[in-house]
Symmetry: C3
């Protein structure tokens, strides 16, 4: 009897270390767990498309609200189609280090539990990430870009730019081989969206009336702050899917425990970001500021996204808080540079995305920190690629189609010029 | 050793084909997977009640907004109670081919894993489908029907009309025996809601001022388009539950894989519907149109609902796109017929519902296409039943209670006459 | 063969009774199920923070809308941080009967399937309950409390008051040992929030202009009823997590079945509450009332929260309906007492919370009713503690910082005085 007890203890220890030594979860059960995790977390990330819609619709003026709604549902739709037609192939199909092979993606119908998960479920999860990247951009360039060039940019970004650079890490390409680590996409999703938003903001130029001829910045308040708050909460909610699902497996106790860790850190980083931004804004401006607090929470979320698996909750609070501070400082800085970012997406997604990626390389963080220089190389490499690629696309669109409506159209609002309708026709404003 | 390897390979092949040949998932684990799938997908479908609320509240005028909100929360509540009191029995309890036996539904407390799933979880999932059917109707007849007759209609539809026709297919009744196939309810839910909405719209008549005496159509724009956009996104989100959960099982790898397929197709059909409607509207009217794009996405979702399990993603895009086109064409057609559908629900749910049901019968679709004539018979049979039954109920309500408020009440808005309150009391309009 | 069949039957019976006699779910699979249940239900409860935000933002005036949004995102953030720093320790760490030991909470990294679930996942689930308690309070004291004292109160409540009393029941303290039963927190969450809201409302005093000098009550209508409706639906949605997740396990068929029962009862109680409140309001005031109907649904949800596991669906409808009636009657009663509760949270959460806790002690309810006197003792003990503790905190804050803005600030709205911004700057009101 003693021997049996010893064996059991040994087994437990093995299990404790490896998480799967006992192989207590059958292959088929693991397949179901893994697949269902992709689906559940995928639908959470899908809802982030609504989160961005609400955030952006709340932060633009009423005269551009219907247009920003259409841009957001439209880009989400186009992202799905493009990621199906070519994106998934560029990202995952026989990646040669720098790019995969586009094929009309159609997984074989056979189901084998030995695969570990349904490829369709993984596709769904990856597709919503691709769409999220484009959602980031729409907020920055809102209120002054026409529908058609915007949608063409969305087609190029979701079909080509996003998947090609993502193949370098998640597709097993050269950055992955170098050891670059980005758990859920501080760089691959958020700073990519941020870089493309930055080039767009510069090439398109600021909104009419944003910067006075004497150089001063004119505040253009968002028209519906409860809507922006709803958007932030929905993004926070969806981020449990974004980061939690990026564990990519739920078929063992170790995976489940890691996922729980990711959930807690995700929440704590957002909380830290919001509180830090709220306090800093109170100090800087004498009053708390709702928009800055919301962006602080989002910056906290972006900051933790590269390493929610390796941080402790306390580290997550601090990482998020620093992200919230950086975002709060970056917003007026961009205005000084006359870079007009309607919703603050560059400060949230690019600035905090870089911070979040680099922090994973700082020694002492959690237990599995990556190498700082490798992280920096990844940030810069992807940054250069996206800046160059997106600038080319924006410039071609500017030359061929024109990016902006006429001044009269912009003054009267894109809802009239692009859609011929009003977002709130009965409300006097 | 070679023999063992051969046996393993054989086993893998068997599993690959049947999905469960190995029976690797224990009965009890399968019970948990199946039950949890019903609960998770059930709560997603439950949220569709909010999706319809937002969509409808965004597309009516402010003076009828509070009333449409109350109608929606009210019908969802009544649907639960009626489906409990009699509906589930009519639909599932000893169905004799044409109708089941109503009983106060109370599953026995014993839990046996041999059942395969908790009956309570299935009840929850079925209940939210019943409620969805009624949610479809409220949008069409908005702005001109009093609360009391509306709620009485909801009681009859959710307790009797919906469950009786649903018993013909999902309860194992005569249409099921004929081979009629409707995976998640293009016909059983969506066209049923659409038919009842159509009879309601005709019997109640159009809103005052919708059709001028010279025959022209007066556009009555929705008062809050961001709200309509939110509603569409929430419906899209909930549809993963609607279609995904209709796999009705998650206890095997084959089920999980099929469910993932359903998720992807659901998303692609919506994307196809939105893009097609957006392009068509741009061609027809010279400008993109947010409302038509949103309805296009919903029509795409309805279109794929009868066969998200059998289509490939490419087929799903096409099926959804055709649905979006049909819906975009049907909306002005109904106006020509002076049928006043406030939110476009007839075009979305009835037209695309018929299309989606028939397309499953077109040879060459996917791998498991049904027979076209059987599909047609199902569509027509259920259509005739719902048209007759709902017309009788609408007409009785019209005769006994009256359906419409007075002209003065309708002009000043139902919020004042029915509730004595305003939806947005501080906003000048 | 007959013997085998008999053994099988016997086994099935054993399983039927105990739910786990067969131990068909492996320890590791049970660990995953339990952990994933905490995560999924936890993210649902997290969304309740958005539900409260929408409800409250819809029921305040536009001039206080941005402030209530910031209060809600802020309190949710602070709750997470405080529950991490000290709250979880007070609630669960070596509870000596009356209080636990605060420690910076950091679960060991090892994962052992023998634990049954990830402690991180449990922490996440418990944290969102703590935050919910504070969300209840913000609505009652809205429109007249400054940000800083509000946030300090949130810090004290989520770090100390909530966890200490919760340790008495869920931490295994003295009330738990007495047999007090509160499945998901009719008392521990809802009446605790209600008591603290009540003391706050009394100590802070009513809004300017709420009660005329002649004693009459001035109605101050909510500014955005669709937003309040959205909030109610999201709370209803989140409540499936709140009650369903409180089963605390999904690792056996018996747990899954119990959870399904909880979902159905939760839904039915809300439906009963809404319908009862709608009918009662129609009788009392001659018209249906959207706000009262929404609060009726919420009161139904609170009412079932102490015993969703023991009720039948019919009992759940009745329990919820009584809750809806009590809430509808309590709202004008509080106004008579000149207790100004902006959103009706005291009537919803305190009144229905007491009712829901006591009803579990009524003989004949379901199968596992608790002792009525024990339930009453629990309600009173926790009530006295929270009233005393929260009054002390409110009074200290009043003395040291002041709770209210100046009269001029209150008249012009907190959005201007506290934030320097407007929620809807373009809408004339």
């Amino acid at each position: 009897m003693k021997l049996i007890k010893k064996i059991c203890l040994l087994g437990l220890m093995l299990f404790t270390v490896s998480g799967t030594a006992f192989a207590e979860v059958s292959e088929e059960s693991a397949y179901i767990f893994n697949t269902f995790s992709f689906l559940v977390h995928g639908f959470l990330v899908m809802l982030m498309a609504l989160g961005f819609t609400c955030l952006e619709a709340g932060l633009v003026r009423t005269k551009n609200t219907a247009t920003i709604c259409l841009k957001n549902v439209g880009l989400y739709s186009l992202a799905g189609i493009m990621f199906y037609l070519v994106g998934y192939g560029f990202m995952y199909n026989e990646v040669n280090g720098f790019i995969g092979q586009p094929t009309l993606w159609n997984p074989e119908a056979e189901v084998s539990s030995a695969d570990g998960y349904s490829k369709m479920s993984d596709w769904f999860f990856q597709m919503v990430f691709c769409a999220t990247t484009m959602s980031i951009i729409s907020g920055t360039v809102a209120e002054r870009i026409k529908l058609l060039p915007f949608f063409i940019f969305a087609i190029v970004l979701t079909g080509f730019i996003y998947p090609i650079q993502a193949s370098w890490v998640w597709g097993g390409g050269f950055l992955s081989e170098m050891g670059f680590s980005d758990f859920a996409g501080s760089t691959l999703v958020h700073s990519v969206g941020g870089w493309a938003a930055l080039t767009g903001a510069i090439i398109i130029g600021p909104r009419l009336g944003k910067y006075a001829s004497n150089g001063s910045v004119i505040a253009i308040p968002g028209s519906n702050l409860p809507l922006a708050t709803i958007g932030t909460f929905i993004l926070w909610f969806g981020w449990f899917g974004f980061n939690g699902g990026s564990q990519l497996a739920l078929g063992s106790a170790a995976d489940a425990a890691a996922m729980a860790n990711v959930y807690v850190n995700t929440n704590m980083a957002a909380a830290g970001g919001l509180v830090a931004a709220m306090i800093l804004a109170s100090i800087l401006y004498g009053k708390a500021d709702l928009s800055l607090a919301l962006n602080g929470a989002l910056a906290g979320l972006v900051s933790i996204t590269a390493g929610p698996d390796v941080a402790t909750p306390l580290q997550a609070i601090i990482i998020g808080a620093v992200g919230g501070v950086l975002c709060t400082l970056a917003i007026p800085l961009l205005d000084k540079l006359k870079i007009d970012d309607v919703v603050g997406a560059i400060s949230v997604h690019l600035v905090a995305g870089i911070w979040g990626t680099l922090v994973v390389g700082i020694p002492g963080l959690g237990t599995l920190a990556a190498d700082f220089m490798t992280q920096l190389i990844g940030v810069v490499t992807i940054g250069v690629f996206v800046v160059v690629a997106s600038s080319i696309v924006w410039l071609i669109l500017k030359g061929v189609l024109g990016l902006r409506p006429t001044e009269e159209e912009e003054m009267s609002g894109l809802d009239v010029s692009e859609l011929g309708m009003e977002a709130y026709p009965e409300f006097r404003n």
